[in-house]
Amino acid sequence: MSILLTTETTFIVQGITGREAVNLTRECLDYGSKVVGGVTPGRKGREVHGVPVFDTVAQAVEHHGGPIDGSVVTVPPAFTKDAVFEAILNGIKLVVVVTERIPRGDVAQMVELADREGARIIGPNCLGLIVPGVCKMGGIGGPAKDAAKAYAPGPVGVMSRSGGMTTEISSSLTQAGLGVSTAVSIGGDAIIGSTYAELMPLFEADEQTKAIVIYTEPGGRMEAQLAAWVKDNDSRLPIVAFMAGKFMDDEEMKGMSFGHAGTIVEGVEDTATEKIARLEAAGIRVVERIDEIPAVVKEKLGVAA
């Protein structure tokens, strides 16, 4: 089992004729994902690696002959909100937003519409998600052969605010013989569609998942939200966390953001130090070194190191 994706999951790519989207489409097809169409307004009738291109999402749905499960949205920031609205209002329930530099107001509108329509957004500013050996939705892990090298099936659910670090951590779990149930690049922005706490119930319900690893950064309150979720729900899943960007707590770094837009610290609670304390208070193990993760996960799972 896994969360969000199965071997049957169908999705489209909005903005499919863009340079990055063409690569991503190739990678997903090579991995075995079912990319059933693409949308770029004005480009109807073309093909991208054999995937038919349409002007509208409605045309893609009609051509498919039934509901489409998901969409990967990779269009410029000024057009992203409209593309996501179009996906959701055409019945798509899982929208991965790759685009970065979208104003918060637009993201908040997408998320509110998704909530009303029973849809889920992953991202923005993310690389998507992958269920090893089953389906890859987005650029996560890169070309199929590279993704296969970093992601083997296993018991660990991974959630990360950094797309690259999703693969780095998953690869270390794979190398250690553990593997990954589902890895989600949740996005690096201040407001995102699905936070750690919002994905936890899905992992909780997934039999394959036995432990969770999260990668986190300064800025925002989603670690506090996770800590609260863990306290309120008697979760069966041990969580191991890694916090990057501790140097940002230095006085000279005040008011600056590094790495991702979401790392902007807007209050004391947003700092790395404060977040680590909060996570630890909820019983979440925060490791100091990135390379400690596999061993600590093994310890939590009761597997010999």
């Binding site: 993201v107 309150r221 790495g259 070194r289």
Partner: protein, 405 residues
């Protein structure tokens, strides 16, 4: 993007929120004229993008236009926390009966704007929330639907405010929430919101910040209404030569993205690192093992050889930097061989031996086999994913700065 008080007041005024008859002045003569027009006691306030101006002597009261001009002359020369003022604001000295607070911020957890109101204005709202939580009213607003007045009313009534004060404050808070949403603000604050002796409400001070990502679509407000120049970016500090040079290299070529920062970094360990999360992780790993980075950097989005070369050269040309550490988290879009070519070229163009200069090269992922071949030719050891990011950072520290402290 941060706004000066005189701009924030203008934004508030444009949203239909009452303000006093203030004037923005850049000379003592202008201040004198504004004070004369106001025709009574005035307050002169320094216009700086930093806090603590009251304590620093940046706010003064005057009874006559002459006195206003004198104070303006002094304040215009007064540096506060390293900032020279953009000008002064001359404001009538208000007859205040009661000070309130009205603000709107993002609630990232609820993913909605959050209205805040307090009947204890004039002081820091976080302080009030801590010491007098029952004096802070809150209410979320929708991102999709029109913001109704009653939601503002509920937030205000939660603090116990009633009577005509409730009815006067309600449209102000509602309008503040609307302007927050329409103008892509990340912070919109009126503090104090003053009830004057005649019962009217005015915004006596305002603080606004706009999201950088939205600056492009808010041109009408920024350039039109406020007259803010395109290059007036309001960064919290001045960019160094290194930062400007890296930004110029990045802008010259659309392939990939590079970033370089050295504000607050004073060491001699040159970092050519990436991507977003990888750079954060690696910078911590270097520092936690006793290393002193000369800079922060980010490589992402598959840059050209020229771009990777440009970044490496800029780092190598920083004072005190003899060697660089080239490290990234596993790459799937950026190519190992392209970055390898870039950093080797940087060494060669500066007349340095790559084998000596590149203390470590740890980038696993796309095209790593090809990258390894290139590095081998120049005597640079290649580290793949079997060397963790922590270990790679530790080796860099040991090679560049000696054994970890």
């Amino acid at each position: 993007m941060r706004f000066f008080e005189f701009e924030a007041r203008k934004i508030v005024e444009l949203a239909g929120i009452p303000v006093t008859k203030y004037g923005f002045c850049t000379t003592p003569e202008e201040a004198r004229a504004v004070a004369a027009e106001i025709g009574g006691p005035v307050v002169i306030k320094s216009q700086v993008l930093t806090g603590g101006r009251m304590k620093a002597g940046g706010v003064k009261f005057a009874d006559t236009p002459e006195e206003a001009a004198e104070h303006a002359a002094a304040i215009l020369q007064l540096e506060i926390n390293g900032h020279m003022p953009r000008g002064v604001l001359v404001d009538p000295k208000a007859e205040v009966k009661q000070e309130y607070y009205a603000g709107v911020v993002w609630d990232g957890t609820a993913k909605r704007p959050l209205m805040l109101f307090s009947d204890m204005g004039g002081i820091d709202i976080e302080e009030v929330a801590r010491t007098h939580p029952d004096h802070v009213g809150r209410g979320h607003v929708s991102n999709l639907f029109p913001i109704p007045d009653f939601e503002a009313k509920q937030a205000i009534a939660a603090t116990g405010v009633s009577g005509s004060q409730l009815n006067r404050a309600t449209p102000i808070l509602a309008r503040l929430a609307r302007l927050f949403r329409e103008n892509d603000m990340t912070l919109a604050e009126i503090n104090p919101l003053a009830e004057l002796t005649d019962g009217s409400f005015v915004a006596l001070d305002a603080h606004m910040e706009m999201e950088n990502e939205a600056v492009g679509r808010q041109k009408r407000l920024l350039r039109g209404e406020l007259g803010i120049a395109e290059d007036d970016d309001r960064e919290p500090y001045e960019h160094s030569k290194f930062e400007e040079a890296v930004a110029a290299i990045d802008a010259a070529d659309h392939r990939g993205v590079i970033q370089g920062k050295d504000h607050g970094f004073t060491g001699n360990l040159g970092l050519v690192i990436g991507a977003g999360g990888g750079s954060l992780t690696l910078t911590d790993a270097v520092r936690n093992q006793g290393g002193k980075p000369a800079n922060y950097s980010e490589i992402g989005g598959n840059p050209s050889v020229a771009k990777a070369c440009g970044l490496a050269k800029e780092v190598l040309e920083k004072d005190g930097v003899e060697k660089i550490a080239v490290m990234m988290s596993i790459v799937s879009n950026t190519r190992v061989d392209i970055v390898a070519r870039g950093v080797i070229k940087a060494c060669l163009e500066l007349g340095k031996d790559p084998g000596e200069t590149i203390a470590i090269f740890r980038i696993p992922g796309a095209w790593e086999d090809e990258g390894e071949k290139i590095l081998a030719k120049y005597g640079v050891e290649y580290c793949d994913r079997s060397v963790s990011m922590w270990e790679a950072a530790g080796r860099a520290v040991a090679k560049i700065q000696g054994a970890p402290a």
